[in-house]
Symmetry: C2
């Protein structure tokens, strides 16, 4: 693999008869040359098969066009689809992405951020939840977070409260005898807490019998299965022969719960309605397609990069005016009715 020799400014200067300073001005401030001279140099670049060296350009203008991303993992369907959609914004905005997997390890993530800063990234998108937003704000570079504590930094989140209201209202319309919400213990400052508040408000307003079950459900399929099976046994005893409307915090968990029922009854029994959250692929791929509150991941990703680009453009001005307050955008979720709520009627 012999190395190709790259064309240098020297080569272009010799070829055109201009000075190296003139060639440099062509790249950094072309309008300072006459149109005629610009054309001569442009033609020389073609003749010499000149390849742009972005690293050299970064030196000239200090802008890398890099955005750093820290994401907890890609096993989770929600994260992998979010990264997919963020990377696709290259077509629109032209920014390149340096990606790190955080794995919920706070110290590694701090190290990754230092590594990214050393490469002069222009902005940072954070999906991990380990580092407090105060500490992120102190980095003093443009930052956008997605679905995490965001008091001191800009963010884009799903309207989780509206999602909770949509799911609960759908179950209420089906005249369930009792509404159940299953979730992990969630702190009120996390955007996803809105799902719980939305559930509680609808139940209170419509005076519906309801219950919230907080349970750590685990990370592996086997742990989730064991914990959700315990919950299922409780519900079977306590609400036997009552019509149960179940709103579960994610499609992954809703699918495990559904599989437990199918294993027991060979189908989804008439006294169970199930709705999940996210619109992960698993919601459609389940043995019975699962109703869900769909997050508009493409829209969230686009708005996140767009909000970051605004801040990065501001930084390029001679006198950047920092945001007085962080901006928080919310994206509307979309209710998707499938067989786990619609077949029972």
């Amino acid at each position: 693999m012999p190395k190709k020799k790259n064309t240098t400014f020297n080569d272009i200067a010799n070829y055109t008869g201009f000075s190296k300073t003139t060639i440099s001005r062509y790249f950094n401030n072309p309008d300072s040359l006459t149109l005629e001279n610009q054309e001569i140099i442009a033609r020389a670049l073609i003749d010499l098969d000149y390849k742009e060296n972005k690293v050299a350009r970064i030196l000239a203008n200090g802008k890398t066009e890099f955005i750093g991303i820290i994401i907890p993992n890609l096993n989770n369907h929600y994260y992998s689809e979010m990264l997919n959609q963020i990377l696709l914004t290259y077509e629109h905005f032209g920014y390149k992405f340096l990606v790190f997997i955080g794995n919920e390890n706070e110290d590694s993530e701090r190290q990754y951020i230092q590594e990214l800063l050393a490469y002069n990234i222009e902005g940072l998108i954070i999906l991990s939840f380990t580092i407090p937003s105060k500490e992120l704000a102190d980095l003093q570079i443009p930052i956008v977070t997605i679905e995490r504590e965001d008091q001191y930094v800009c963010s884009v989140n799903t309207d989780n409260y509206m999602g909770g209201v949509q799911a609960t209202s759908l179950l209420a319309r089906h005249n369930c005898d009792v509404l159940i919400h299953i979730n992990s213990p969630t702190a009120p400052e996390i955007p996803a807490y809105g799902r719980i508040q939305g559930f509680l408000d609808v139940c209170t307003e419509k005076d519906l019998k309801h219950r919230v079950i907080f349970r750590v459900l685990g990370n592996t399929y086997e742990q989730m299965q064991e914990n959700l099976n315990e919950i299922l046994e409780e519900l079977e005893q306590e609400y036997a022969s009552q019509k149960k409307g179940i709103f579960i915090s994610s499609d992954t968990h809703a699918n495990v719960f559904l599989n437990l029922l199918i294993k027991k009854y060979g189908k989804l029994p008439d006294d169970y309605l199930i709705i999940g959250f996210d619109d992960s692929p698993i919601a459609r791929e389940a043995a019975i397609p699962i109703s869900t509150v769909g997050q508009q991941i493409d829209k969230i990703a686009y708005e996140a990069v767009s909000l970051l680009v605004e801040q990065m453009n501001e930084q390029k001005k001679r006198k950047p005016e920092p945001l007085k307050e962080p901006i928080h955008k919310v994206i509307t979720p979309i209710l998707l009715r499938r067989d786990t709520t619609e077949k029972a009627d």
Copy 2:
């Protein structure tokens, strides 16, 4: 967001009383200074809160520590998990990853490669299948491909032939009356063709009644469902009351097929055995856990980066010796027996 002023070589020179040339030598060739002077400068860096600027270092030594990745998409579980594992190798090798989604668009992918080359990436990992390996080899930078046509470039692939043999032998041990392999039409130069060859060789060797069904199954769940339902109807007619061992080319497809059977019978009937390929999350999350040929994605990712690092290190030598022939590593798959083959006995 006021910008922090970065410490420059000038600041360090003024603080220590050394010349800028000496400071530069400290970073690029520290052993050319006395230990004492190295210590004086090291202490000054701490006092001045000096932040390393990698872009400046790249200028000094020309090495970006960037690896470019082109991956078709992240909707597919196999690709997202592969990217996950590749990114995690940062902990071991220290290389940073610039990631592009190819979306099976040849022209976009060529443009992404040009963009990556402009950033002086040191190597390239290709998971997309649009650009021929001959064209990739002509880029004359270190390249490793994963599971695609690889005649002219280095690659890491699963031992697909062994996987086909493992799956087929398992079905054969369960004394099926007929063995069926369902796959998309696959060209013999694609590594995954080995699965088909493995199936055929075992059937021929053991003189088993068998059939290969090639069918374009589509990209959406609904298309896969429709096409696999047609195949199911054919099998039900042609092999009624015979014990059918079914080897399907991916877990995603195996899950759709399983769901069709559950919808029809409320369970997996005793005359069906199913085995998939990949060990995607869906294989465990299915209503009945699906037996599969597991790809060791963590190992494939590690070996791919490792093979790339060897080539990149060679490029850093004063007289790099190019590989005479591309290296192709194969990783052993692991048979995972779950309920879709083990309950029937």
